[in-house]
């Protein structure tokens, strides 16, 4: 997996790309520029081998949002030059312009971060943040949440089964399921709270609060390509700023 040129990049390099895209679409007013990022992101996704899931995720989430935002702007943005009407609504060219501009930015920024989370392993990203100064407690919170969610799902299944044996109906119409909500959810939440104490003891048994620096088996390597890319983002961002405001 690490042979892949995109996936092998340092997680922060991937993160900075998303940040760079965000910055660039805010600096550059043209919507064509912002839309142009999308095919580039698809190409990156394709190289990383995640194009399919990336596109399907975007079409399921972002596309709907974009359509709504675009139509709202088109019909309701205040403007005088009417370019068409539909029922009682009027479309203005200002609305069209603004709708395109807004959606192009949402698409570029949204897609950039969606792609970021497709190509980065959260474990790597947290490690990278730890390397640049995130306290271990913060890292623990992020990582343990990721691990504990599936564990809690398993536990909630166990509780559901237990409640079923006691005669609580958990399947059927919406009303039946709503009724089962409290008897299943309450034990889950209470037991999770109760287990925090033991979890804290577990961490202490593993010297979590030991004084002194920690080491880690999980090492991230920063290769020259990461440095080059990061500098490129920075220089391009400054270049865009100069171009926008001084030329």
């Amino acid at each position: 997996m690490k042979q892949n040129p995109i996936l092998a990049l340092h997680p922060l390099t991937k993160f900075y790309l998303a940040v760079f895209i965000t910055v660039s679409v805010i600096i550059v007013p043209s919507y064509l520029f912002a839309y142009a990022w999308f095919p580039i992101l698809i190409i990156i996704a394709a190289i990383a081998g995640v194009a399919k899931s990336f596109i399907s995720f975007i079409s399921k989430t972002l596309l709907i949002l974009l359509a709504i935002v675009f139509l709202m702007q088109l019909f309701f943005y205040p403007g005088d030059s009417v370019i068409g009407t539909w029922w009682i609504f009027e479309m203005s060219s200002e609305g069209l312009q603004y709708g395109l501009k807004l959606t192009s930015r949402i698409l570029a920024i949204g897609a950039a971060f969606i792609l970021f989370f497709r190509i980065v392993d959260v474990k790597d990203f947290v490690k990278a943040l730890e390397d640049i100064g995130l306290p271990p407690t913060g890292a623990y919170i992020v990582l343990s949440t990721l691990q504990i969610i599936p564990e809690m799902r398993r536990q909630s299944n166990t509780i559901m089964e237990a409640q079923k044996t006691r005669g609580v109906e958990t399947e059927g119409s919406l009303k039946v399921r709503a009724k089962a909500f409290f008897p299943t959810l309450t034990p889950l939440i209470l037991s999770s709270i109760a287990s925090t104490e033991e979890r804290a003891i577990t961490l202490e048994s593993r010297a979590f609060s030991a004084p002194g620096p920690k080491t880690s088996l999980h090492q991230l390597t920063k290769r020259p390509i990461d440095r080059i890319l990061n500098w490129t983002y920075l220089i391009l961002s400054i270049g865009l700023l100069v171009w926008r405001f001084f030329l």
């Binding site: 504990i148 202490e204 920690k214 080491t215």
Partner: protein, 284 residues
């Protein structure tokens, strides 16, 4: 042998509790010995473990009286994190003894060493060693959350052993294990004792307690009822008062003694059954 842990007149009450869970407990644990703590439910065994590991008073508040010394120093002077290197703690519930930040067993076992700041090459060596010692090499790449109770208990034990504490406090390690798993865990504990560690074990399975431990501490309703070499404690008539099960062989021997059979000594291990009777059967 010198005392590694000493408790003098220790009493403890949990923050919201009315009653004292431990009452005037004084005991001494010698360096390198294998001490078992036995007692019925509610006799204060787990609370005592928490004190030995420093979770009381560092983590659980409440009222603590008396003096606790570890290697001659007052225990409350240690930081909780520092104690991790000195006292290892394995507790009952294996389902919760997973750090929750590692997605494989290898990383899970390495976690304590990472926190202690052990160099990476050394971590690899030590984790490998422990995986073999605890006999869980086959689990190394599995997700700790997907293991069975017994497997998790062994991973939890390995995660503590790898930190090489001088003292191991083990609270009912076999509660989730089948007989074979129990034997394996006790074998590991025995190996730790051979390495010179001090072992403090809470356990209900008296056959195993008698087999392995040098000393017994009998707790009854928060008080130390008896303390001494395993054989002496089991032979003492006071032990019967504590209402704790005898090892099977001891139980039989004591009953035979009551019926008039002479014994050389009271057997506490299965292997002693042949030598404890005064005469061989042929001579009677």
């Amino acid at each position: 042998m010198t005392a590694i842990i000493q408790l003098e007149n220790v009493s403890y009450r949990y923050p919201i509790g009315e009653e004292w869970v431990l009452k005037d407990v004084s005991l001494e644990i010698k360096k390198g010995s294998f001490v078992s703590i036995v007692g019925n439910n509610g006799s204060g065994k787990t609370t005592l473990c928490n004190i030995l590991r420093g979770f009381i008073p560092h983590f659980h508040k409440g009222e603590l009286e008396g003096a606790i010394t570890l290697e001659g120093q007052d225990l409350s002077g240690f930081q909780l994190g520092q104690l991790g290197e000195k006292v290892g703690f394995v507790f009952q519930n294996p389902f919760i003894q997973i750090s929750g930040v590692k997605d494989n067993v290898f990383g899970e076992i390495a976690y304590g060493l990472e926190n202690l700041g052990v160099p990476v090459e050394e971590i690899y060596e030590r984790v490998e060693e422990v995986l073999t010692l605890v006999n869980i090499q086959h689990l190394r790449d599995k997700n700790p959350f997907e293991l069975s109770g017994g497997q998790r208990q062994r991973v939890a034990l390995a995660s503590i052993i790898v930190m090489e504490p001088d003292i191991l406090v083990i609270d009912e390690p076999s509660s989730q294990l089948d007989p074979i798993g129990t034997e394996q865990v006790f074998e590991i504990i025995r190996l730790m004792k051979e390495k010179g560690k001090t072992i403090i074990l809470v356990e209900h399975k008296m056959d195993l307690v008698a087999e392995y431990s040098d000393e017994l501490i009998v707790l009854d309703q928060g008080k130390v009822l008896m303390q001494g070499p395993t054989r002496d404690v089991l032979a003492d008539p006071l032990f019967r008062k504590a209402n704790i099960q005898y090892p099977h062989v001891t139980e039989i021997a004591l009953e035979l003694q009551e019926m008039g059979v002479d014994l050389n000594f009271v057997p506490i291990r299965d292997s002693e059954i042949t030598t404890c009777f005064k005469h061989n059967r042929g001579d009677v």
